[in-house]
């Protein structure tokens, strides 16, 4: 019995040493041994094979080439504007058929609406061997099932413990490292060391998620004294960005482990953490951020103006608060590849722990990050227009749809002012048409 315990201890020590040598050390030094690349290559080949197997397995012959549904829609929306449709009608039809138009629009909205579908995960066109992404798991072939079972074993028994270990190492070293650096008096040495610690720990954490990130246009990386603005898909967005540079984070103070990390890191680096009560006071928030930005030697702030996690197929309304601070805005577009793992955090469906578990048992997190040229507010542009301009740029770069909707719609209802606009348009038209000869002069309709 004793021997078994001793053996187990030896094995875990060997395991830990291997992890440290092969993963932690290279990431601390910023070099890559090529293990992740090899892993991704194997993964891609396997998934391609799996897709072909599924295509063969489906009984119905599919003559058309598989194409992603346009704009993730399932119904054909009739985009005829209301005016055209109603103007061309016989007057009698018009009187009763205005209700057709709204009936149909109402039904279209009930079958599928543009907004709510952004708050559920993007639909994949082929299966990536994760059951969670295939609700109708049909038995296709024995080989496929075997591969899937192997996949499960690999993911849960090998990848998960590995990632968990790495994450633990990463978080611990972050807390310990920043606390140590925080003891030093303020100086350039301290700043340098704090950057080193942050970068190293981010790299370890990215490895913990098997993250493969492609950075584009690095010459546009956010500079000191600026504000970095990005679209939001998940809590790991921050780690993705800090993997490549140092930022001052902005956020609410949390309890638990997150709170510990926040308190430790703020000693080393001037992150901006707000108490819950302070967040409500918009002026206070803006003031503090302004002070931070005014100091040109401070790290750029990282802000996610959407305010909530969107499923990475679109960019929703940016809250204007971030754009009132002034300073230079550095937009960044982040697009995840859903093929290897869904990074979107559906906070109404999963809590943070189950979300992290899902992430850690996915194949990998693959994403593209585009740094875009800096933007400033133009003369005569107000915060809202500026916000929209930045949002368009990000959406365009990342290939995401632009929606005028507020991310807050995840939980709240549409404002009345929107509704009234539509009704105003309609009634303007109705009065115009209806008042042309209100009484019929013997119009027959068979």
């Amino acid at each position: 019995m004793e021997e078994l315990g001793w053996l187990a201890a030896r094995l875990s020590a060997a395991w830990l040493a291997l992890v440290l040598a092969l993963i932690v050390l290279p990431s601390a030094l910023g070099v890559s041994l090529g293990i992740s690349e090899a892993y991704m290559w194997v993964l891609v080949k396997t998934l391609e094979w799996a897709t072909i197997r599924i295509e063969k397995g489906v009984k119905k012959p599919q003559p058309e080439v598989l194409k992603t549904p346009a704009a993730n829609g399932i119904i054909e929306r009739d985009e005829t504007p209301m005016e055209k449709e109603i103007a061309g009608l016989h007057r009698m039809e018009f009187q009763f058929s205005d209700i057709f138009y709204f009936c149909r629009k109402g039904f279209e909205a009930i079958v599928e609406d543009e907004v709510t579908q952004r708050f559920s995960s993007e639909e994949l066109v082929s299966w990536n061997l994760l059951t969670r992404t295939n609700v109708n798991f049909h038995y296709i072939s024995l080989r496929l099932t075997v591969v899937w079972v192997i996949g499960v074993i690999v993911r849960y028994c090998f990848l998960l413990p590995l990632r968990f270990t790495l994450a633990a190492i990463g978080i611990t070293s972050m807390i310990v490292g920043t606390t140590l650096v925080g003891q030093l008096p303020n100086s350039s040495v301290k700043n340098y060391l704090s950057e080193v610690v942050h970068l190293t720990c981010s790299r370890i954490l990215v490895r913990a998620l098997s993250g493969t990130i492609h950075y584009h246009n690095r010459e546009n990386k956010p500079q000191k004294g600026g504000i970095c603005v990005a679209n939001h898909t998940s809590p790991i967005d921050a780690i993705i960005l800090t993997n490549d540079g140092c930022y001052a984070m902005v956020g609410q103070v949390h309890g638990g482990l997150m709170g510990v990390i926040q308190r430790a890191t703020v000693k080393a680096c001037p992150h901006v953490w707000f108490e819950r009560s302070e967040i409500k006071d918009r002026h206070l928030v803006t003031k503090r951020l302004r002070e931070h930005v005014a100091n040109k030697s401070k790290l750029p702030i990282l802000i996610f103006p959407e305010g909530t996690c969107i499923n990475n197929t679109s960019v929703m309304m940016f809250k204007k608060g971030s754009f009132e601070i002034g300073g230079t805005i550095y937009p960044v577009a982040i697009k995840y590849d859903p093929q290897f793992g869904d990074a979107f955090w559906n906070s109404s469906k999963y809590n943070i722990v189950s979300y992290l578990l899902r992430i850690m048992t996915s194949w990998a997190i693959v994403c593209n990050v585009w740094y875009m040229p800096p933007m400033v507010r133009k003369e005569g542009e107000d915060a809202v227009q500026f916000a929209n301009r930045v949002r368009s740029a990000i959406a365009h770069q990342g290939g995401l749809a632009e929606l005028p909707w507020d991310g807050g719609l995840k939980r709240a209802k549409v404002k009345d002012s929107f509704k009234e606009e539509q009704q105003k348009n309609y009634s303007k038209m109705l009065v115009r048409n209806g008042s042309i000869g209100s009484l019929p002069t013997g119009t027959e309709s068979d």
């Binding site: 599924i54 599919q62 058309e64 598989l66 549904p69 346009a70 399932i74 119904i75 054909e76 009698m92 039809e93 009187q95 009763f96 205005d98 209700i99 057709f100 138009y101 709204f102 009936c103 149909r104 629009k105 109402g106 039904f107 279209e108 909205a109 009930i110 079958v111 599928e112 609406d113 709510t116 559920s120 995960s121 639909e123 066109v125 082929s126 299966w127 992404t133 295939n134 609700v135 109708n136 049909h138 209802k413 549409v414 929107f418 509704k419 009234e420 539509q422 009704q423 105003k424 309609y426 009634s427 109705l430 009065v431 209806g434 209100s438 019929p440 013997g442 119009t443 309709s445 068979d446």
Partner: protein, 211 residues
């Protein structure tokens, strides 16, 4: 918590036969139903509040009402249901099915009648089988509601104008008592409504439906 994950095949078959949707369309509608009902087995009126696109619609209340109207659910002749299940949801959705190429005369006629009946129920809010002038006015007012520039008078004159047209077709007496469904059908003879009252599904050729 979750009540069910996916549609049992028996229900799907039944849905196919009854509503005329294909299996894939039913799966999609089923997912939508689950989304709206938050994974419960039935939907209530409040569940429709979670659709932002619907907020735009001036006759939103009438549309939602139509889902719970027992006359549309093919049950007893009148009254409102408190909640509906997926089968009922499919039944209401089937009123908006597009025409299929292979329909014969009789089917087309029945199809048309069903859609017009749905519309009739929407106007006839007191469920007495007749659309009175007041009921029609109510609908027009709802369509125009929220616009401060439009006075009640204009809405009233538009409503009256429509009723006069109806009178010219059905006969003035009917109009005063209220338009019955037969009169309603007469009014719509020869006018193409089938292409206006439908929602067309895109051809979903995806292989494994991933979610």
């Amino acid at each position: 918590g979750r009540q069910w994950q996916e549609l049992p095949p028996g229900k799907r078959k039944k849905g196919e036969r009854g509503s005329g949707f294909t299996s894939e369309q039913i799966e999609h509608l089923h997912r939508r139903f689950r989304q709206l009902s938050r994974d419960q087995l039935t939907i209530r009126k409040e569940n429709f509040d979670s659709i932002p696109d619907l907020e735009f619609n001036p006759i939103r209340a009438k549309i939602v009402h139509a889902f719970f109207d027992k006359r549309n659910l093919r049950q007893e002749s009148s009254g409102l249901a408190d909640e509906i299940n997926f089968e009922d949801f499919l039944t209401i959705m089937s009123y908006f099915r597009p025409i299929e190429m292979n329909m014969d005369e009789e089917q087309l006629d029945r199809f048309r009648k069903e859609k017009l009946k749905f519309l009739f129920h929407m106007y006839d809010s007191d469920h007495d089988g007749k659309i009175t002038l007041q009921e029609y006015r109510n609908v027009v007012e709802e369509l125009l509601s929220g616009n401060p520039h439009l006075e009640k008078e204009s809405a009233r004159s538009i409503a009256d104008g429509a009723m006069m047209e109806a009178a010219s077709i059905c006969g003035p007496d009917q109009v005063y008592e209220g338009i019955t469904f037969e009169d309603f059908l007469k009014m719509w003879q020869g006018i193409d409504i089938e292409t206006k009252m439908h929602v067309r599904f895109l051809n979903m050729e995806t292989i494994a439906h991933c979610y």
